[in-house]
């Protein structure tokens, strides 16, 4: 709201946005409305607006959790409860007998919220969505139970008074501006995060977790930061709420409030800031104008939630996303420009090699890989072929760190590569693509590619929050690098298009562009030609060949024998997890055993 140069510009905004609306004029209008509202001198409106600001302070943080990270935090009202009781109890001297200054108590609420945000969020780091949803629900249930039972501190069912903030934010319009400023700050911070590499990484974790890991994004660390921020904002919102209510009881924090926060975000659309903000304001204000419906409000919210989920999972923002309904050109051709590769690989590195020595991997009793030796050298295309189930993709997954081999060694230039840490591969400049393209469907092609360069940013989370210079430099650099990569694979004209509108073959090239963001020393390609036309395969082959000539070691897992024999420098044939043959394409083609195993005679 205060940020005139909105960091989310219309063309580059992530997932399902209010498209053009997200331009800066809407922020200015909202900010002015908020600033000038006191001129009406209507305290009734003032109270409603304060409530909307407070809800949004919580909602802004929750939006990062729900809308960006895709974590279903249905019980986030617990942070409001926690914050409210912390501020109220500390300010009233119910803990330790010392009456805290209200502003200090408010800060303490933020800290409490942050701490518990992380605790509640822990299961989300490892487990599937439902567990986290249940944990937040359980936490909300328990916080209420504790509020009822811990009479010394919370006053039990009778409740406890909330503090009055002294000058300059004393009750009335002073407090109004306090809430307004904090809400604006929350908006600014979260939209900075949303449009930073951290925001894109969150969305990538949500929609394409494996690709995010391959790009070097460590999910736990990032989620903890988000839970800290969202919990802290929730706690602060709670502190303000206790003052606004002037007296709080456990009844004030109903589960339906949680639903309200949640639906506000979903209505607004995932991955947007303005959408959820408007959603929250509307849901807060609406009941005031529809008094007869108030008792049915939860029912209506829930019904609305059901309709959104079943009919428009992208939220209303998706419906308004005109830009992406404009038809794309029909018969598009991808024409890669391998000559641009030299601009990506601007720093040459010396020769290196990944070596697999006697690697074995069993799943239960099945030997997926059974004593495999393999060397991928820089500057070469190494083909890996073999029948289904011969261990090709498994080999690739071992190299990229998803599987821990039961025995054998995996080394890069003689040093062991860490095992079981797929997100650590990007730092070694080992990039990969996937059999089924992994993408963030709602984000633009450009943003999808930018995800590939996440580890090249130098700004910290805090710098991004405040949009400090280093953050802005990161963004500029990533943007340029991504455009270069897109131009190289021949997709630059589609940079602003939502990725899920691309054809299958275009997605294959987009994945390569994303991998190029790492300036890979090694590139692992998992059936990149699957689903491509003959002409596209030819162009793909030329591109792969050119990448290897820049010094990259390419491992190519492929079924298309013609592509393998065309571009590979060396070929390894797997059968039943073992090397059946290895050599130049010419040697392999004349290898009777290979022909029979590969073709299955």
């Amino acid at each position: 709201m205060t940020d005139a140069t909105s960091p989310i510009s219309a063309s580059k905004a992530p997932a399902g946005l209010l498209g053009r609306l997200e331009g800066s004029w809407s922020w200015i209008a909202l900010g002015l409305a908020g600033l000038l509202l006191p001129l009406l001198d209507d305290s009734y409106f003032g109270v409603i607006a304060q409530r909307a600001y407070i809800y949004w302070i919580l909602g802004a943080g929750l939006n990062l959790v729900v809308g960006y990270a895709g974590q279903i935090a249905i019980g986030w009202v617990a942070m409001l409860t926690l914050g409210a009781y912390t501020t109220a109890a500390l300010a009233a001297g119910r803990v330790g007998g010392v009456e805290w200054h209200p502003y200090l108590a408010l800060i303490a609420s933020g800290v409490m919220g942050a701490v518990f945000g992380v605790i509640v969020g822990l299961p989300a780091l490892r487990l599937r969505t439902f567990y986290f949803a249940m944990t937040t629900l359980g936490f909300a249930t328990i916080v209420t139970q504790v509020a009822l039972a811990w009479k010394d501190v919370t006053g039990g069912g009778v409740g406890t008074p909330g503090p009055v903030f002294p000058w300059p934010f004393d009750p009335g319009w002073g407090f109004y501006y306090f809430c307004f400023i904090l809400a604006a700050l929350a908006t600014w911070i979260t939209s900075n995060i949303g449009s930073s590499r951290y925001g894109r990484a969150l969305v990538a974790i949500r929609d394409a977790e494996v690709a995010a890991e391959a790009s070097g994004i460590a999910k736990p660390k990032l989620l903890i930061l988000i839970f800290l921020l969202a919990g802290g904002l929730g706690g602060v919102a709670g502190g303000l709420f206790s003052s606004l209510q002037s007296y709080i009881t456990p009844d004030a924090f109903t589960f339906e409030m949680s639903v309200l926060f949640f639906i506000g975000i979903l209505i607004g659309g995932r991955g947007s800031i303005l959408g959820p903000l408007l959603g929250t304001i509307i849901l807060t204000v609406l009941p005031e104008f529809a008094a007869p419906l108030v008792q049915w409000s939860t029912f209506l919210y829930a019904a609305l939630l059901l309709v959104i989920v079943l009919v428009i999972p992208g939220g209303i923002a998706d419906l308004l996303d005109y830009k992406n309904r404009r038809p794309l050109e029909q018969h598009r051709e991808i024409v890669p420009r391998p000559e641009l590769l030299s601009r990506i690989f601007d720093v040459k590195s010396g020769p290196s090699a990944i070596t697999l020595a006697n690697i074995a991997l069993h799943f239960g009793g099945v030997r997926a890989i059974d004593g495999l030796d393999l060397e991928i050298r820089s500057g070469e295309v190494h083909g890996l072929i073999g029948p289904n189930g011969s261990g090709k993709t498994t080999t690739l997954n071992v190299i990229s760190g998803y599987y821990r081999p039961n025995s054998g060694q995996l080394k890069l230039n003689g040093a062991e590569l860490p095992i079981n840490k797929p997100y650590a591969r990007a730092a070694y400049r080992i990039a990969r693509t996937f059999q089924t393209p992994r993408l963030v469907g709602g984000a633009s092609v450009l943003e999808n590619v930018m995800i590939g360069g996440t580890i090249d940013g130098s700004g910290t989370f805090a710098e991004s929050m405040l949009s400090l210079p280093r953050h802005r430099r990161d963004e500029k650099r990533l943007n340029e690098a991504a455009m270069r990569a897109l131009a190289t694979v021949g997709l630059e004209s589609l940079a602003d298009v939502r990725a899920d509108r691309l054809q299958h073959s275009e997605l294959r090239f987009m994945e390569i562009a994303r991998a190029l963001m790492l300036r890979p020393a090694f590139l692992l390609l998992d059936e990149p030609a699957a689903g491509l036309s003959a002409e596209e395969i030819r162009r793909l082959g030329a591109l792969i060949k050119a990448i290897s000539r820049e010094g990259t070691g390419v491992l190519l897992v492929e079924h298309h024998a013609d592509l393998i024999f065309d571009i590979c420098d060396r070929v390894t044939v797997l059968n039943l997890g073992k090397t059946l043959a290895a050599g130049t394409p010419a040697e392999i083609r004349s290898h009777r055993e290979v022909v029979s195993a590969y073709l299955g005679a």
Binding site: I72, M134, T135, T141, A302
Partner: protein
């Protein structure tokens, strides 16, 4: 005090176990955890109280109607909130769709019935001084319901072809579909059965927990804890976990107070989830790429 901890703990634990089984039966058929489990438990009590106290029905008729209502709600859950979402790419939307449906029902209950806890009638006219009355029926009813449910499910799974079809779908729904098993109809049947079990938990537990809309959230959470502890899909785990949870909660309530009990349960829940996500009894699942 010991007797009261044990009787109350086992009774409340049996209700948790039944809700846990409700989660499991729906999960096995569809890989979906539905937030309607707690709603079914809540409604079992509310509808029972409404039919008997409010409308003056006799207990047997009321019981049958409550079970029918549970089955119908189970079917509606499947048709309205699960089936459309299973087709969608983002399957976790089921969390929202089932939650939304559960909240709608809860809100209708709040408006049309009552937001305050209401008493549930005594079902069997047993003289508390006779030998039958040594243990109050509000304690043995849920335990009995739990035993009957477990035996019934065992019979279903072990002795009937439809029960084996449920197991087949739970293990490998793709292979089951290839064999020509009517997956959709079997899933609907599972949801109907889950509806009955959830309603049974609420009906038999309501003399103790009362007819109260607030039970929905409580049962949703405390019914899921045994599933998380015992491993998803494992009914044995749910029963053991549910009874242990009930006993622990009551013991803690009496010995150190309710705040500690709630916080401890929550802490154990999170710790187990983090250390053994597959449950204390479950087997680790392989990671997919």
């Amino acid at each position: 005090m010991f007797a009261s901890i044990v009787s109350y703990g086992l009774a409340v634990g049996a209700v948790y176990a039944l809700i846990g089984i409700t989660y499991n039966v729906m999960f096995s058929a569809s890989r979906v955890f539905s937030f309607t489990a707690g709603m079914l438990g809540m409604l079992g009590g509310v509808l029972g109280a409404l039919f008997i106290n409010g409308l003056g029905m006799n207990a047997v008729l009321a019981f049958v109607l409550v079970m029918v209502a549970g089955a119908v709600l189970g079917l509606v859950t499947e048709i309205l909130t699960v089936r459309p979402v299973l087709k969608s790419i983002e399957q976790h939307l089921y969390v929202l769709s089932t939650l939304a449906f559960a909240l709608m029902i809860q809100q209708v209950t709040a408006i049309e019935y009552n937001t305050e806890p209401q008493p549930f009638p005594v079902l069997f006219p047993i003289d508390p001084n006779s030998w039958l009355g040594i243990v109050d029926q509000k304690f043995w009813l849920p335990v009995l319901a739990c035993i009957v449910t477990v035996l019934g499910l065992e019979f279903l799974y072990r002795c009937t072809l439809i029960g084996r079809a449920f197991l087949a779908i739970a293990e490998d729904s793709y292979a089951a579909r290839a064999l020509g098993l009517p997956e959709t109809r079997l899933r609907m049947a599972s949801y109907a059965i889950a509806g009955v079990i959830g309603a049974l938990a609420g009906f038999t537990g309501a003399q103790m927990l009362l007819a109260f809309i607030g039970n929905q959230a409580i049962l949703n959470f405390y019914g899921f804890v045994p599933v998380a502890l015992g491993g998803m899909g494992s009914n044995r785990g749910a029963v053991i976990g549910g009874l242990a949870l009930g006993l622990f909660q009551q013991a803690a309530n009496f010995l150190v107070g309710g705040i500690f009990a709630s916080v401890a349960v929550f802490a154990v829940f999170i710790i187990v989830l983090l250390l053994r996500p597959e449950g204390l009894a479950g087997a680790a699942a392989a990671r997919r790429v």
